[in-house]
């Protein structure tokens, strides 16, 4: 690390200057930036944000509240990375800018500290506390308490911010795949597997969409993969890295590397766009860690999105329509998770998989690559902009005539479900892999409940 950085501790000063310098301020990112296109303010554009970071690194600008607000107004959707002709590593810049903002504490208030502490330090750094939260949420919903709270108007007693958020509470569907895997799914690993893959279960994915994880395991098994679901895996750390807690993110990355032992696997698979995008950066995150640098490199090399992996290994096309498409074509539209598309450049594979499912008719969603406003915890921190983006998304979705919308990220799924409700659209939100799994299941015959996949392979 260079000496000025060591003196000031400023993370933007300490950053390799060539990363900042790479931005040639051509402006090609502007048209793809949701916050710029909404405000038409240069400071709310990727180019403007990078210019401010560079001015800070050059000592010409302070890490001010204005800068901090702007960096938290940024969705971190990374659409700018796809548009950038020069290949600017915006993720890296964004993470360091937010980390510097937290280090300096320009946004610090007691309330903000409490919220951040609860979310970032307490819940998402401990798999036990996460499970507890998931369990409570499931109980809240199973016991009908949520419906009761909503129906009776008790919801009005919640503080305004929480009241607005309540509809975004994810519905818990299916049990944690870790439980399911231990009890049942592990037995269906193919006897002579062609690949050995580890599954990152994800936090929100596993609490709210345990079934998507189970479907992912099944689909992998059908395609000749032995699936490993390490018990001691943690949150991937994207929430932390994107919210200025790089050290916490590093701890989680190390824990996951230990839990998965990447050397023993052919791939580390995730079905959540946000997790995958971050996991690919463990190598950068741990570049200064002598003990983990090499393992992190191996890890990053082996991270695969589920759709990407399936296409890479030449997955088997299902022969039978899923039940939902049994009585005629099922019109499906697909929303790109920002971090799957822009962060991981996985664009065609989910579409290809959807097209390969018999009975599914894929209709392109206009602006499919435009952020839905979920963006990690953005819908909590910036509800106004988040809802504007969601409404824009729903307008496009409504025009497709689709009955099902597929998206490969739990944050998007929660946000989109909230959006369909808001817009009064009768559209089911699902994960592409859930549709694929349903087709494999239908193919194996209605009799077998869940153990048919190994046979089908």
């Amino acid at each position: 690390m260079s000496s000025p950085a060591a003196e000031s501790g400023n993370l933007l000063v300490g950053l390799d200057y060539s990363i900042l310098q790479k931005c040639m301020h051509c402006g090609m990112c502007l048209a793809t930036c949701p916050t710029y296109m909404e405000t038409l303010q240069e400071r709310s554009s990727p180019r403007g944000r990078i210019a401010m970071m560079r001015a800070i690194a050059d000592g010409q600008l302070e890490v001010s509240k204005t800068f901090a607000d702007e960096m938290y107004f940024c969705l971190g959707c990374l659409a700018c990375e796809s548009a950038c002709p020069a290949g600017v590593d915006y993720t890296n810049l964004f993470e360091h800018a937010r980390a510097e903002i937290e280090r300096v504490g320009v946004l610090d208030t007691r309330k903000r500290r409490a919220i951040r502490h609860t979310l970032i330090q307490l819940i998402f750094t401990s798999r036990r506390r996460l499970r507890l939260l998931g369990g409570s949420l499931a109980a809240y919903q199973r016991l009908g308490l949520q419906a009761l709270v909503r129906r009776t108007g008790l919801v009005r007693l919640l503080p305004r911010r929480l009241r607005e958020l309540e509809p975004l509470t994810p519905t818990v569907r299916g049990e944690s795949v870790r439980v399911n895997f231990r009890r049942d799914l592990a037995r269906h690993n193919p006897p002579s597997p062609r690949h050995r893959v580890g599954l990152l279960t994800g936090c929100v994915q596993d609490i709210a969409f345990g079934e998507v994880n189970a479907d992912t395991v099944r689909v992998l098994q059908v395609n000749g993969c032995e699936v490993v679901v390490p018990e001691t895996q943690e949150c991937c750390g994207s929430l932390h890295a994107h919210n200025g807690e790089l050290e916490a993110a590093r701890d989680l990355a190390r824990a996951n590397i230990d839990a998965f032992d990447p050397e023993s696997l052919d791939a580390i698979v995730t079905n959540a766009g946000g997790c995958g995008s971050h996991m690919r950066h463990y190598d950068r995150l741990l570049a200064d860690d002598d003990a983990y640098r090499e393992r992190a490199r191996v890890w990053s090399e082996k991270v695969r999105d589920i759709h990407e992996l399936l296409v890479d290994i030449g997955y088997r096309k299902p022969l039978t329509p899923p039940p939902a498409a049994a009585d005629g074509p099922l019109v499906v539209t697909y929303h790109d998770s920002c971090h799957l598309r822009h962060g991981q450049k996985v664009v065609d594979q989910p579409r290809q998989i959807l097209r390969d499912i018999p009975g599914v008719e894929l209709v392109e969603l206009p602006e499919a690559d435009w952020c839905c406003g979920s963006a990690g915890i953005y819908n909590i921190t910036q509800p106004e902009m988040s809802m504007e983006l969601l409404d824009r998304k729903m307008e496009k979705v409504g025009g497709t005539g689709a009955g099902v919308m597929a998206a490969a990220n739990p944050g998007c799924a929660i946000q989109l479900e909230h959006g369909t409700g808001r817009a009064g659209l009768e559209i089911e939100v699902t994960h592409p892999i859930t549709l694929l799994a349903a087709a494999y299941r239908a193919e194996a015959g209605s009799a077998a409940p869940s153990g048919e996949e190994a046979v089908a392979s």
Binding site: Q21, K22, M24, C26, G27, L40, T66, G87
Partner: protein, 460 residues
């Protein structure tokens, strides 16, 4: 340099709070445009939404003698919208309404902040076509396009922005509002003031409303890609196509350096040993286009193409065009500082110019990849360097100067579509000569006697 408090408070009465930016953060993000290395802090940024506000701001600026630098999205490549020292930046991005699409007269009325792509989309929606397509079409504004007389890939067949401007509304340097031109195809009432503002780079007036000419959309298009082992063969192909009385809408080339960079970056299967590839497109009536495409294939082979590919579907067309589309990205990734130039020569001199650019690059030991528009002689030699290396920067500047000099020698121009701005200003006298420069100065003093409109740009 902060604005005098009295001027600032007058601006505040003219504009809403969110229309006037003065924070250090805002000043720092309006200090540049799309041009490498140029940087100057303005004293404030005004974001008017009406012509009355624009007029009021200019009037104020004239009274106070404060420079005004107009900009849209700030994607210019010659520093034309980089703030002049102590200037008010007049950002017209929020004047972005499409006011009218007139299908009877084939015109469209827009405010200057409308994006070029939005114009193209609105035209397409009406079954019409707005042809100019500058590289930054997704984000460039129409006001900027007019002020720089922007080009694009379709210059040979469809011309440039100037060919699509029927009427302009302009705020003059004293705040008066001038309307010039009509929706009439024929209009010879008085001097064509309209044309003076096209390409004037914000130094003669501020464009606040534009009436565009539209044309019927072509029904069909055919795309071909030829590989060549000499640039001359590619250039001869172009000449032969035109001699055969075919005017393609696109004739784009990549040179050897660019081909290799594209291949390294995108791996799309281009021949790494080729000296040139040529992307050719014809548009028009389906039957005619089919016939022309077949003829072009034949001509390309006769003139030394080592391979000719023809797209049989829209997807294939996109694939063939992808080399050209990724050319700039492929080059831009290789170095932190990138100068995208736009020297232009008569079509007949293009092969010679490309060859000379490479010689100059070798001579000064700088990295240059060249691609561009073979149909209209407009080249994009792209210089790759690092602004933190003063010694290399010096060599790059020398090489660029040599390229400009040779373009002028061949009867060409130092800038085909990016404008003069700050970056080309030192080279303009070489091309225009004393009389040319003196005439421009006289014109400037007529329109902007105080010298408050984009001072220091185009000329001193």
């Amino acid at each position: 340099m902060p604005l005098e408090p009295a001027v600032l408070s007058k601006l505040q009465t003219l504009l809403d709070a969110d229309q006037l930016l003065t924070s250090a953060e805002d000043l720092s993000v309006y200090a540049y445009d799309g041009t490498a290395t140029l940087h100057e802090l303005p004293c404030c940024i005004a974001q008017p939404t009406t012509v009355d506000q624009v007029s009021g701001i200019v009037r104020l600026a004239a009274e106070a003698g404060v420079p005004v630098v107009t900009r849209g999205s700030g994607t210019g490549l010659s520093g034309g919208s980089v703030p002049s020292p102590g200037s008010i930046v007049l950002c017209l991005a929020r004047m972005n309404r499409i006011l009218e699409v007139d299908a009877q007269n084939l015109t469209m009325d827009v405010e200057p902040g409308v994006l070029t792509q939005a114009v193209a989309d609105a035209a397409a929606e009406a079954g019409l076509f707005y042809p100019p397509d500058p590289g930054s079409i997704n984000i460039s504004t129409m006001g900027g396009n007019v002020a720089n007389n922007s080009g694009g890939l379709r210059g040979l067949k469809y011309g440039v922005t100037r060919d699509y401007i029927m009427r302009l509304q302009v705020v003059l340097a004293d705040g008066q509002v001038l309307d010039t031109g009509t929706k009439c195809v024929k209009d010879v009432a008085g001097f064509s003031l309209r044309d003076i503002f096209i390409g004037s780079e914000g130094s003669l007036g501020i464009i606040t409303r534009i009436t565009l000419k539209l044309v019927p959309a072509p029904a069909a298009k055919q795309t071909m890609l030829g590989h060549y082992d000499s640039m001359t063969a590619a250039a001869e192909t172009v000449s032969a196509i035109i001699a055969a009385k075919i005017i393609p809408c696109t004739l784009e080339f990549l040179d050897r350096v660019t081909i290799r960079c594209v291949e390294d970056y995108a791996g799309i299967g281009l021949p790494r040993d080729a000296e040139a590839i040529l992307l050719m497109e014809v548009d028009g009536h389906a039957a005619e286009v089919e016939e022309q495409a077949a003829r072009i294939e034949e001509i390309a082979r006769q003139h030394g193409a080592t391979a000719v590919q023809r797209a049989h579907s829209d997807e294939e067309a996109v694939q063939l065009a992808s080399a050209r589309r990724t050319a700039f990205s492929a080059l831009a990734r290789l170095a932190p500082t990138v100068f995208l130039e736009d020297v232009t020569v008569p079509r007949s001199e293009l092969a010679r110019m490309v060859g000379r650019i490479q010689e100059i690059a070798d001579q000064h030991q700088v990295r240059v990849g060249t691609f561009g528009h073979m149909g209209d002689g407009n080249l994009h030699p792209t210089f790759l360097t690092d602004e933190r290396e003063p010694e290399e920067m010096e060599r790059v500047e020398k090489a660029m100067a040599a390229v400009f000099e040779y373009a002028i020698e061949l009867g060409g121009t130092i800038t085909g579509e990016h404008g003069v701005g700050l970056a080309k200003k030192p080279f303009l006298p070489d091309q225009l000569g004393d009389t040319g420069m003196a005439t421009m100065r006289r014109l400037k003093s007529v329109f902007d006697p105080q010298g408050i409109l984009n001072p220091g740009k185009v000329l001193d």
